[in-house]
Amino acid sequence: MKKNVWKILSVVLLVYVIIAGFLGPIPDLDIVHQTIRNLYFHVCMWFVMITMLSISVVNSIQYLARFNLEKDTVAKEASLIGIFFGMMGIVTGMIWAQFAWGTWWINDPKLNGAAVGLLVYFAYMVLRKSLDDPHKRARISAVYNIFAYVIFILFILVLPKLSGVSLHPGDGKESIMPVMSMDNSLRIVFYPAILGWILLACWILNLRIRYIKVKNKIDT
């Protein structure tokens, strides 16, 4: 029971986020109006994606230190879940963009950063598929994972400053996230939402790893 507290917390938080997110009070904003509720879903997806990719790269480093294949499994599954949440982020973002800016896709540094991130990690998956020996695959994909992660993070930090204008709020001289200017009625749902989604992703990761362990045992 004690071990599962965080899973229950995740469910409780997400139920709260969905109910309060759709029904709760929101500030009256220009342009976005009711679509601001997407904040609890769209923005959180990116937090989850970055968290999962970070878990993945940490495990890759640990693999290179110890050559323990279990770490490689975690690295692969975490980046898969990261890709999944990244795609969810793009889909929710596209829906939001359609309402707020009147177009599905637009040339914006944040969108480009997301697209490049997905390209990098799809390539990571293709690289894994093209190597057969598990140890070699683990080693080489770990090297690529670390190399790509550093460049990707740098890219999403530098790119918005390079292009100057972004349609997303809070770019340029302000902080990365416009949390500071956020209304309190948004905050009480937004912060739990981030935690809830991250916990959910960790739960999925946990299940996937256990599933693969059992599968490996049955196969051998």
Binding site: V116, F122, S130, K136, I140, V143, V150
Partner: protein, 219 residues
């Protein structure tokens, strides 16, 4: 350091003896630029943005071609010999240095070809060439490292492209930004920050390559 020098000299000698790669690359470049020139023939004059975009797209494809053979051209026995002989650090650094010279030559060549066929759009040529010099180090470092990764797999060239392009993008965008400034003749103090950024990126990629290459090399 002595090892690195020896490896570079070895690569150059090898290249001069065979001469197929260099000549092939020069021809590749000339053909591509000519194709670009002919396909834009119906446009009266190529504007600056198109010129810039074309230049860099052609350059990354040509550099990818140039670098992709780095680790594949040498047969397995010789690689094993080098593995016993030298530190992995000197191998990757010598390869990056050699490829940087190659990429630099390619970019200067394509600049000349562009001037010949499509006119010189860069108002500040010193800035443009400096940009090329700094950029070719980074391009070569990323591409060499990626080619080391993809040489461990079967479908080498495809993999090299899909692994390499997304990683080249941050670099390329900054290079294009500086090039755009050079083309429109901006003052130096507007681009000094970007140059710093490029130098930092160069150093970072080199550092990563030195740290990570030993894990690729041991087989």
């Amino acid at each position: 350091m002595k090892e690195i020098k020896a490896f570079i000299i070895k690569d150059i000698r090898y290249e001069l003896r065979k001469q197929s790669t260099i000549n092939g690359l020069i021809l590749y470049m000339a053909a591509i630029v000519f194709i670009a020139y002919l396909s834009f023939l119906h446009v009266y004059a190529i504007d600056e943005n198109t010129w810039n975009a074309l230049y860099w797209i052609i350059l990354i494809f040509a550099s990818m071609n140039a670098v992709s053979g780095t680790f594949v051209n040498e047969n397995a026995n010789r690689q094993y010999y080098f593995y016993l002989l030298a530190k992995p650090r000197s191998i990757i650094l010598s390869k990056i240095a050699y490829n940087a010279v190659l990429v630099l030559m390619l970019s200067l060549l394509s600049y000349l070809l562009f001037i010949l066929f499509m006119g010189n759009k860069a108002q500040n040529q010193v800035m443009f060439v400096l940009n090329i010099i700094l950029g070719s180090t980074g391009l070569s470092a990323i591409l060499t490292f990626v080619s080391a990764i993809s040489s461990r797999t079967d479908n080498n060239f495809t993999l090299m492209a899909i692994l390499g392009f997304p990683l080249l993008l941050p670099f390329l965008l900054i290079l294009m930004k500086i090039a755009a400034c050079a083309i429109s003749g901006n003052a130096w103090d507007t681009v000094i920050l970007y140059f710093l950024l490029i130098i930092i990126l160069d150093a970072l990629v080199l550092l990563l390559a030195i740290i990570l290459f030993p894990y690729l090399w041991r087989d």
